[in-house]
């Protein structure tokens, strides 16, 4: 959960999650609907500026996080870009393979580029949320948005116990490895199987003990807690509107330029 660590250090950490959610949602929606190269690029840039200027995240870290989905985006873009055409089609670049041309036309290039940039913009929007808002704040916001109580509580518990179970799994794995449990394919498979079943069993037992511990603290069927104090962050709403307007302006300029 790399992003969560930075979310806790963000200058926007103490700002209410709702306006942050609103800004993300607005920018994301506009970016996806515009379906344009320049809007996508503008979005990822603006989000980078907001994350570094408002959240205080070093630009280096933002770029590092952008690199992670880049591989997926590149693969996705390529599969859209490269197609097969009959010989003699108007391609920009292509390789002849067995009587057909494998390559792309100008239209393909536009489509792949706009998809790539749109996705990059969307990733930027999601990073604005996840690099400035810890998961626990997010679940709190979902609750305020009247997402069913049960779902929110499950999200919270799952998030917390991902770490507990990951720790358990890691320590079992070390214990197995220290006794040569992962030498050879067959033995690795068997050890992995034991590990999975052990983690499952421990999760089961843990659930029972958590229930006891919650009972002891007066649990009556709902995991209501007190949120820390948030700054209202109302100024983020006009900012969200400004970002959306900027995106639309970029779209307008692009249309004008293309004519």
């Amino acid at each position: 959960m790399g992003t969560d660590r930075y979310a806790y250090q963000s200058r926007l950490r103490r700002v209410s999650p709702l306006p942050k959610l609103a800004l993300t949602a607005a920018a994301l929606l506009v970016c996806l609907c515009c379906n344009s190269v320049w809007v996508g690029l503008a979005t990822v840039l603006v989000m980078g500026v907001l994350i570094t200027a408002l959240g205080g995240l070093p630009a280096r870290v933002y770029l590092h996080f952008l690199k992670i989905p880049l591989a997926f985006l590149a693969v996705g873009g390529l599969t859209i870009l490269i197609r097969s055409y009959p010989a003699g089609a108007a391609v920009v670049a292509a390789l002849p393979v067995g009587g057909r041309l494998w390559g792309f036309t100008a239209g393909d290039l536009r489509q792949a580029a706009s998809l790539f940039c749109k996705a990059l913009g969307a990733v930027g929007c999601m990073y604005f949320l996840s690099l400035n808002t810890p998961v626990t704040d997010l679940t709190m916001a979902l609750e305020r948005l009247h997402v069913p109580h049960l779902m929110v509580e499950l999200m919270e518990l799952i998030y917390r116990f991902i770490f507990v179970l990951a720790e358990t799994a890691a320590s079992i794995r070390v214990a197995q490895e220290s006794r040569l449990g992962y030498q050879g394919f067959r033995r690795s498979l068997r050890s992995l199987g034991t590990l999975s079943s052990m983690v499952f069993l421990r999760a089961w037992r843990k659930a029972e003990r958590i229930c006891t511990a919650l009972d002891a603290r007066g649990y009556t069927g709902s995991l209501t807690t007190l949120a820390g104090d948030y700054a209202p962050g109302l100024w983020l709403f006009p900012l969200a509107a400004g970002v959306a307007a900027g995106q639309l302006a970029v779209l307008y300029l692009e249309r004008m330029a293309v004519g």
């Binding site: 950490r13 626990t136 998030y159 958590i210 603290r217 807690t225």
Partner: protein
């Protein structure tokens, strides 16, 4: 004055019928630390869950301030408010990834107004020394910090009786001292009644005012730590031992024929004892 909490002939059996507690009668004086000593499987944890109403005894009574506990919804709510339990593994207790929110949970459950929950949460976090960590996610805390956060989560309910299962297990020596000074502070400044289950014998003479030896679900011995240490054979029969210092004094007495009194179990007491022996030697 009534003891803060006591049991009378408490019996408890698991669902499969194995007896876990048999005729356990004990009491904890208000504003004291009572040690419940016993090996693994002696029934300490079962006893504590009975004291907090998570388990319902088969027979016998749990009394709070001399009044028997009622096992209806209202009675149980009152019991859990007045008797707080801190479990051995803090990962069993901390359910939220946000320390502040986890600690506030018990306060919210009491139905207190928002400001009061916030005040108590802050006080509990400060008292346990995790106030600076409130903005960190739970999984970024060390084991000792998690333990203190778990204690804060119970203190927020402002219980009269605080029960801790193996509070020192898994901590480094400094962590042990920190937790125990915290408990001694709660006893001395708030007059809290504290019960700790432990098999860490060296902490018993330092922090416990009274102690019970539990074995096979029964109370085998009770008394001040010094009185218990006068029965090393009973402790050893139950997979426990004397504190190291008390053991040293026993060896000096039995193997070397020194005239040590049997009760010195702390460094301070042993030092006085040795100085006394030296003085006697000089005067002879």
């Amino acid at each position: 004055m009534n003891p803060a909490i006591e049991t009378k002939a408490l019996c408890y059996a698991y669902e499969d019928g194995t007896a876990a507690l048999e005729n356990v009668t004990l009491s904890a004086r208000r504003g004291s630390i009572t040690g419940i000593l016993g090996a693994n499987g002696a029934g300490k944890s079962t006893l504590f869950l009975n004291l907090n109403g998570v388990f319902t005894p088969k027979s016998g009574q749990v009394l709070l301030d001399g009044v028997p506990v009622r096992y209806d919804k209202k009675g149980l709510t009152a019991l859990r408010r007045r008797v707080g339990v801190v479990f051995q593994d803090p990962d069993d207790q901390l359910f939220s990834a946000d320390v502040y929110r986890d600690v506030s949970f018990g306060g919210v459950n009491l139905g207190l107004p928002r400001e009061e929950v916030a005040r108590r949460t802050e006080e509990a976090l400060r008292r346990t020394g995790v106030w600076e960590l409130r903005d960190k996610p739970t999984h970024a805390l060390s084991y000792g910090q998690k333990k203190r956060a778990a204690i804060a989560g119970v203190l927020v309910m402002e219980p009269e009786v605080l029960i801790l299962d193996e509070p020192t297990a898994g901590l480094d020596p400094q962590g042990v001292t920190e937790i125990l000074s915290l408990l001694a502070g709660l006893r001395d400044s708030l007059g809290m009644t504290i019960l700790i289950a432990t098999h860490d014998m060296d902490i018993v003479p330092l922090y416990c005012d009274y102690a019970y030896l539990l074995g096979g679900g029964r109370v085998l011995l009770e008394g001040t730590p010094e009185e218990l240490f006068a029965h090393p054979e009973a402790l050893r029969a139950n997979h426990l031992r004397l504190p190291r210092i008390a053991h040293l004094m026993e060896v000096l007495r039995q193997a070397d024929g020194l005239d040590t009194h049997g009760t010195a179990a702390t460094i301070g007491a042993a030092r006085r004892e040795i100085l006394r022996l030296l003085k006697e030697e000089e005067s002879v």
